[in-house]
């Protein structure tokens, strides 16, 4: 019976005007998003080819991540170049897409489309499932037969989820396949697997909003009221909580700004130079002191920064939108975890060559070949252990919770 109801929902959706508009919307959004982000990626790749370090340069620079087409995250920060000099690591601009006008609007990547727009679409599928049928009087007819309320609800959920998920999957698959025709965009097997995981998480996320829509629909008597309540919840989950989490976390953890850190580094530099001039001594020793002090400051900054990020993320997890964004960007390799690890690797790289750099500069050598910086993105196991698994489970929990609450509310629902 569940499948019969699901089929009825699918047929009813297929025949509706709503379905075709939603289909067009998904095609338009996914295609536009991938087209725009693909162009952005190609520009950044062209920049990378120009600024990539020559063999022997003491520069750490990673190429733009092809998965940033789907999840831009912090890829702009990750792809900055880190130059190692006698005073430590200097961060330079990385690959950017040029004109300042591009910064007016947020990057419309796949994650943005799913998180903001398709979540609304999922609500549209769920908001009138119960209240409208009650308004039209068809719910009484349906429950008049010997079908259980659980089956009705499950059938409706499956039917609507498939109506939304199948076009979404088809459009995403087709757009991704078109993307792969471009020889400049190369996805490895692992990256394709990660992409599949992101799409899976997107479905889980959209499933939650469908369940939420059905829950509110069972709690309200009219579809119009249901829309109003759902919009409130959507704003709460997608915009309010993620910003509130960061705001609250900043009350508990103070982190100095990047500028303040740079100022401190400059003060240390001046002090060591003045000491070198006034007291003489070994120049290389002064540089080593400088480098180790910079390391200490950087480490202190990173520790506080990581504490702030951890706390913010934990608070933000009240919202499934935050869990979805965190897990997806980490899986894509453009999340905060990846950025933190890259910074650590850069520090390790610096530690491995700083003595040679100081000695070479001290002796006036300018043509030394330093080993290249090699960076391997975090493996999936590490990403999942670092929080993505929790976020995935948390999203699943949200799904089950919303559906269970919808079931409880539907059992108590007055169909008259």
């Amino acid at each position: 019976m569940t499948w019969t109801i699901a089929r009825k929902e699918i047929v009813s959706n297929l025949l509706s005007y709503k379905f075709f508009i939603v289909l067009l919307l998904i095609i338009l959004l996914v295609a536009t998003s991938l087209f725009i982000m693909h162009r952005d990626f190609k520009l950044r790749m062209a920049d990378y080819q120009v600024i990539r370090p020559k063999p022997g340069d003491a520069i750490a620079l990673v190429a733009p991540n092809p998965l940033s087409i789907f999840a831009k995250g912090l890829d702009d920060a990750i792809t900055r170049s880190f130059e190692v000099s006698v005073i430590g690591i200097e961060v330079r601009a990385g690959q950017s897409s040029g004109n300042i006008i591009y910064s007016f609007f947020p990057a419309p990547d796949f994650l943005y489309v799913v998180r903001v727009v398709l979540s609304l679409v999922a609500l549209l599928f769920g908001f009138d499932q119960i209240s409208r049928e009650r308004e039209q009087g068809t719910l009484k007819l349906l429950l008049g037969s010997s079908v259980s309320r659980a089956k009705v609800l499950a059938g409706k959920w499956i039917g609507n989820f498939l109506s939304m998920a199948v076009p979404f999957l088809l459009v995403t698959l087709m757009a991704s396949a078109l993307l792969m025709l471009d020889p400049d965009v190369h996805f490895s097997g692992g990256e394709l697997g990660r992409l599949a995981l992101i799409v899976g998480l997107s479905l889980l996320y959209l499933g939650f909003f469908l369940s939420l829509g059905m829950l509110v629909s069972t709690l309200t008597k009219r579809a119009a009221t249901s829309v109003v309540v759902l919009l409130f919840l959507w704003s709460l989950f997608v915009f309010i909580i993620p910003n509130l989490g960061t705001l609250i976390a900043r009350q508990f953890v103070s982190v100095p700004s990047v500028r303040a850190l740079a100022e401190k580094r400059e003060q240390t530099w001046t002090r060591e130079v003045l000491l070198g001039i006034s007291k003489g001594g070994n120049w290389a020793e002064h540089m080593r002191t400088l480098s180790s002090e910079n390391d200490r400051m950087e480490q202190d900054y990173r520790l506080r920064f990581e504490r702030l990020v951890r706390l913010s993320r934990n608070i933000n997890r009240i919202s499934p939108a935050a869990s979805f964004l965190d897990a997806s960007s980490e899986i894509a390799g453009t999340g905060i975890g990846e950025e933190t690890r890259l910074k650590r690797e850069v520090v390790r790289y610096k530690d491995s060559i700083i003595d040679r750099i100081i000695d070479d500069r001290g002796s006036g050598k300018r043509d030394t070949q330093y080993p290249a910086f090699v960076y391997a993105p975090r493996p999936l196991a590490e990403i999942f252990a670092g929080g993505a698994l929790f976020d995935t489970a948390w999203l699943a929990f949200f799904n089950i919770l919303a559906f269970a609450l919808a079931y409880v509310a539907f059992i108590r629902y007055d169909v008259r």
Binding site: S16, Y17, K18, I21, V22, L24, L25, L28, L29, T32, I36, R39, A46, D47, V50, I51, G73, L74, A77, A93, Q95, S97, G98, N99, I100, I101, S103, F104, F105, V113, V117, L120, V121, A223, A224, T225, V227, V228, V229, L231, F232, S235, F239, I240, N243, L244, T246, L247, S257, R259, A260, A262, E263, V309, A322, L325, S329, G335, I336, E339
Partner: protein, 484 residues
Amino acid sequence: MFRILFRKEIAENIHNYRFLLALVLCLVIIPLGFIVSQKDYADRRQVYDETVREYEQTHATVVDLMRSGGAAFRPPSPLALLSGGVEAVLPTSVETLTYISEEGVQVQFNNTRRLDNPLMWLFGRLDLTFIVTTVMAVLAMIFTFNAIAGEKERRTLAQVMANAVPRPTVITAKMAAGSLLLAAAFLAGTAAGILLTVALGLSPFAQPGTLAPFAIATGVSLVFLLAFYNLGLFVSSLSRSPVSSMVALLSVWVALAMVLPKGSVVIAKLVRPVKSQQIIDLEKNQVRVQIQREEAADLVKLTRSTPGIKDMSADEFFKQRRVKNPAVEAFEKVQSDLKAKFAARLNAELDKADAEFERQRGRQAAVARNLSRLSPVSCLVHVMAELAGTGFAEERRWLETRSRFKQLLDREIASKESSVTFGDTTMSGMGKIDRKAPAPKLPAEPVALETRLAAVWVDLALLGIYALLFFTGATVAFLRYDVR
């Protein structure tokens, strides 16, 4: 009759919780956005003040600038709560690139705030522009999606139309009542936000000249909301059922808020491609290296071809210089002229490259901006960014500041400095510059509100036109609407 319909619409919107929801949402999200933005501003302001104070202590005299370079700092915008605009990618300072020499000063932009808060990068900014274009626009859709189609479905529209009431009066009453309630919720949220920030000591009006732009921005937001409200009425008048109206409205919102603004940028990139900043920097560096190489070769040629100088050793040359040998002095004069010629050529070449790059970028941005004006969201985004001081006018000001800063240091220090080169040895610090003189400072020249408004008058006018156009569309569609 208008009054009755107006009162009916007000009562209906209050009765079905829409107004209550809008009010609660505005009372939560607008103050939250203001506090988050103002906290961010307070942090950045503190860093700016400390940086400037420290800079002024350590760069008090000309010799300090010559020793460690100079900088001019850009204060963060106190109205970034209206719109973050492009502030994240605007420079935080303009700084000298190398030591100041008689060859002229090289300056560059610096941006130190790019990753202060990665979560803001991930989730986006919660400024007023974002709230209005996303949350308030969706609220306007919620208010209007069943304004006509819903009444038709409930069969109340036929009853209303059975009275001797003109259709334009019905639609005008709906527009007036709904937009008034939406505006009331928005203004209540904005007032609560201001009160809360003042109570927390984060008032955006603590800086002078912020009240007028804030008031204008609030007014412009109301015009935008009216435009979106009218768009909702228009779509509802074209739809037969509330659900199809909602779906169509959502699609229109997505097209106006996401597809058009970003799509116009992509089209501009295709129509008017521009090299990236990195490539321009590399090209400029190549020019610099080439000219410096030519200069070094010419200096060597000059030394080898000057009688009385060509046979001297470096030690002898500098010894003769100290005793003011006329041949050495004449050589120094010719060398100084040669260096000045190369410095002028280098500056001209670099300026030419910068000007060409800016011209191309400007043309590309103009194409993108004009195309994006098809969307009222884009118009609002640009108006709010200019009012907040985080838009194109601020970027242009900083491009001018970079030039002014360079000219100031060139005039006050570089042009008074000189060096002498002989073979591989260059002796700097030969100029007659007062090293103990106070360091030259660049006076701040903020962009006047009139200039900022002049930059966006088209967008302001378009917002009004969109509001009128959508209302006209809604009226015409409603005149033809089958109420049965």
